[in-house]
């Protein structure tokens, strides 16, 4: 392979609706599962990589995320660049509604992308902090499988035994 082709080597990623995305190798290697796949199959560079559980919408957002973070890292590791990267993440998350955020988390988990997953999990944690139990159930689409008696028992234990740190009140 000539130096020219090595430099601009592209990899094709295929989303679950068969939409294909051509990206630089560097970007594709940010995807943990893709990197592992190539480590196990070093010659399989021509075929599109099927990402079965990732929608096009998610995939395109994740590709943008990788492009941006690669660019940040290429610049330097100063704190101002770090701040910019953080600000980018904040904007990215802000633009995600609850459903999209959840979708992205599952995608990042499937793709084994640690930094992205950290960031998204922190974001979803922030969205359910200080919310009622009912809100959290609705957010995740989870059915309550406690019986009323069981729930009352857990509630009592939570509130009476593990109620939360006192502000310093002497």
């Amino acid at each position: 392979m000539s130096a020219a082709t090595a430099k601009t080597k592209k990899i094709v990623l295929r989303a679950d609706d068969n939409h294909e995305f051509e990206v630089d190798e560097a970007i594709a290697m940010e995807f943990g599962t893709v990197r592992t796949f190539f480590e196990d199959n070093p010659d399989a560079t021509e075929e599109p990589i099927p990402l079965l559980n990732v929608s096009s919408k998610c995939l395109s957002t994740i590709i943008e995320y990788c492009k941006s973070h690669l660019a940040f890292r290429a610049r330097d590791s100063s704190s101002s660049v770090e701040d910019e990267a953080k600000a980018y993440d904040v904007e990215l998350v802000k633009a995600l509604d609850n459903e999209s955020l959840k979708e992205m988390i599952l995608a990042a988990n499937y793709l084994n992308m640690k930094d992205l997953l950290d960031m998204l999990n922190q974001a979803v944690a922030d969205r359910i902090k200080n919310k009622s139990v009912e809100y959290v159930r609705r957010f995740f689409g989870i059915e309550n499988d406690y019986s009323p008696e069981e729930e009352a028992e857990v509630r009592a234990q939570n509130e009476w035994a593990f109620e939360g740190v006192d502000p310093d009140d002497d």
Binding site: I105, Y146, V154, W160, A161, E163, G164
Partner: protein
Amino acid sequence: MQKKMSYSFPNEVLEHIFSFIQSDKDRNAVSLVCKSWYEIERWCRRKIFVGNCYAVSPGMVIRRFPEVRSVELKGKPHFADFNLVPDGWGGYVLPWIAEMAGAYPWLEEIRLKRMVVTDESLELIAKSFKNFKVLVLSTCEGFSTDGLAAIAASCKNLRELNLQESDVDDLSGHWLSHFPETYTSLVSLNVSCLVSDEVSLSALERLVGRCPNLRTLRLNRAVPLDKIANILRCAPQLVEFGTGTYAAELRPDVFSNVFSNLAGAFSNCKELRSLSGFWDVVPAYLPAIYSVCSGLTSLNLSYATIQSPDLIKLVSHCPSLQRLLVLDYIEDGGLEALASSCKDLQELRVFPSDPFAVEPNVSLTEQGLVTISLGCPKLQSVLYFCRRMSNAALVTIAQNRPNLTRFRLCIIEPKTADYLSLEPLDVGFGAIVEQCKDLRRLSLSGLLTDRVFEYIGTYAKKLEMLSVAFAGDSDLGLHHVLSGCESLRKLEIRDCPFGDKALLANAAKLETMRSLWMSSCSVSFRACKLLGQKMPRVNVEVIEEREPPDSRPESCPVDKLYIYRSVAGPRFDMPPFVWTMDEDSALRLS
């Protein structure tokens, strides 16, 4: 049409999400979402806080949360600080340590408040937890420096040892030498409560010198002033420092030596933000700290028996002060100086220098507090001992400082009326609760009728803890509080004419609160039994030191009553003078 998928989050993803959720309230909510979430959450909860050690048993805690790294427990009720809880009442930590020793080999932190800790418990901690890092014993008792020696000798990863106001049997200063020469991880040491005259200065200096991460060091009174400079030179990185006795000779040859040494050492400590100690202050030595004063955010002068002019000089050097604890020697004049110098003040505590003096020994009145309330826009927390108050002053304070969250006023003589109008102080405290909408903590004093409780019940919707003494006329007062204060968690009452009616009518409220203490009130033994029967999940404990409550007619009022909700049922470690009113007691004791 948006496709809404049913998401099945893998357990490890959920666990990862939960790792970003630290508050108990949020973790509790997570545990209630569904049973599988309860399971995942309980395995990854690392920190628990139990506000009343009798509200749950160690076994229940361990069964639910098998991987805890940090435990905080509170024992005796707050009024124990005023000697209202007899010795032997309870609050023993040993059963907890014994069970955790087996269940939590990786436990790192134990924080206890108002508990009885023994040397045996300390030795067990030292032996059982290989990665032990933090021990905080706040207002605890029952142990000696021998127990501390065991901790020092064994806990190689200890970061923090804090004995905050505990009652320690200080047998010898040598316990400090039990920290091995290889031990270097100390970050915080508070031994200010140790009372022996002996202190192993060389061991202390060596310890301080070899612990580069030491941030907090609070010494006890026995450490002489002329040794402080050496200690500070070993730890210029200190952020919080408590001196020992702040007195040394005034003979010119001694003074100039000690002073310049001390001043030089302090000036090296560029990170210093908090100072305390200052026993036996000789004012001439105070300027030695001036070089650090501009950066000080916290100053504890509650042992400093210096007069107003010296206090004024000192605080005027501290423009960044956020927290000040001081004796009433500061007087109204000093508080005026404080108000003009310290615009960032958030917390003020003024303690009485001579609470038993019949006539005021200092010129500290309600005026000082009014001036502070006007001059310090960030003031949130107040503890103020004084001898006179007026409704007008309280109303002014309330209007000046609606951002108060903690307000404890202690007019020294019980039932003292408004000194101007001779009226009760109902209206004044009423203004406080009405204006200060985020008030969480309130202590009342002075002459008060049922009226003040009506105000409290009406306005104090965020109030979590209320202390009442020598106030009110009838059960109506108690009823207002129990029925109106939605956020109430702790209520402590002494010497008030509150009886059966309000308590029985508001029995259900007791399950929504952590605890209720009533002493020298008018609650009958019969009502206690009834309450115990009516509310099986609430422990009703009667404390009678003189004679058993059933040796008298059941209409007789009980001496002390402590009521708290619990998922563990009645306790079994009660001393002979504590009777629990459980469901069967009405049958057993009649």
